[in-house]
Symmetry: C2
Subunit: 204 residues, 2 copies
DNA sequence: CTAGATTTTTACAGTCGCTCTATTTATAGT
DNA sequence: ACTATAAATAGAGCGACTGTAAAAATCTAG
């Protein structure tokens, strides 16, 4: 983990600039109505360069520069507390992130959920979260990550997160995302699922 | 609901023929490696005609000629039994369909779940089921279909179905889809969710 | 059965996302 | 400054998909 050099930082800046330009265009004239050529022009780069930074047009919406850090943080959670507690903490931590960059997150979420093409890929993105979740639950409960129960519960969780996001976007980003998420996992009795999964999950 | 005329039946036959030709090619040489031009040639139609029948290449995998009937049957379920019972029946009925056309369903499911591009759209398809489900639960429990709890529970159910399908495909179509689905909804405590949703759902 | 209306199929041109290759330009370390 | 390396770009090309207009098949009336 060495400090990123000047070169790397410049790349990150360019990437962010492309994303900003793209989101501005998407907001003004719509996602489908915006061409990659236009984005490149707006960001003052060539179309080729666009594809150097983003493998596809969709990725410019999906990409979140903080994601890797979040994922890394999740993967290295403490093992000396009940799983349910860890998850509560995790939800709280997510809340902070939402507030930090509210407007950009809202715009991206809105696009991801309202443009059909993107919505499909939003689910792919959720699957990454699901897989991470799956390995966490597996590690903590002793069940194999491949167990159907573990998979289904992980999917239920990201499904709840998905619905909460939908609700949040529907509210114009005005609602409290964390509250919504809590209500969602409450409605499916998420903590009950963990309990049923095995004593290791709920006690320690 | 008039009987479909000769013309309409011919169209259905053509559509089925295109799908068969396409699936054969996909199986032999892969989805991405197969071009619409090739499908058209194999089905002995022009590329234009292909797009007359299927709005996109993906739809040729997703399309199921029996879907409309299934959806219609679901939407008109009886209202004089507990919701949980209706759902159990529904699951049983699905089992019959699976056995009836096992091989074709397996091929399509395999493609849908293993080709990334298709997998994303498989989720879109699941959302249709979710919405139908949502309206059924709402109608039976008296909750508005827009209620977060109703949405989340519906999503949890299709999520479970999704995981069960994954497992089924992983088993090479050898497993019992219905058993898997039952295990999946058991793991998330699906019937408990319905109970918590309101007494109307579980008693009558 | 034929003429005209309608529907279906097709050819064709064009757009857009995306890939690949080769060339030029910028940067890093010596 | 010199060279290895990486980044940006131009350009050709592919495949999915759209739109338009013409050709072929099918249906309906007289």
């Amino acid at each position: 983990m060495t400090v990123p050099g000047l070169r790397e930082r410049k790349k990150q800046k360019t990437k962010a600039a492309i994303q900003r330009a793209a989101l501005r265009l998407f907001k003004r004239q719509g996602y489908e109505e915006t061409t990659v050529e236009q984005i490149a022009a707006a960001a003052d780069i060539s179309e080729s360069t666009f594809f150097n930074y983003f493998p596809s047009k969709e990725d410019v919406v999906i990409y979140d520069e903080y994601d890797p850090q979040i994922f890394a943080a999740l993967a290295t959670g403490k093992h000396d507390e009940p799983l349910a507690k860890s998850i509560e903490k995790l939800i709280g931590a997510l809340g902070g992130l939402f507030e930090a960059d509210h407007d950009a997150i809202y715009e991206r979420a809105k696009l991801s959920l309202e443009v059909p093409e993107l919505r499909a890929h939003a689910w792919e993105e959720l699957e990454k979260a699901r897989d991470l979740f799956r390995s966490i639950i597996a590690a903590r409960t002793g069940h194999p990550a491949s167990a159907l129960a573990v998979r289904v519960i992980s999917t239920a969780f990201v499904g709840a997160a998905f619905e909460a996001s939908l609700e949040w976007v529907r509210s114009g980003g005005k609602g409290n995302m964390i509250d919504l998420l809590k209500k969602a996992i409450d409605a499916i009795g998420f903590y009950g699922m963990l309990d049923r999964l095995g004593s290791k999950a709920s006690s320690r």
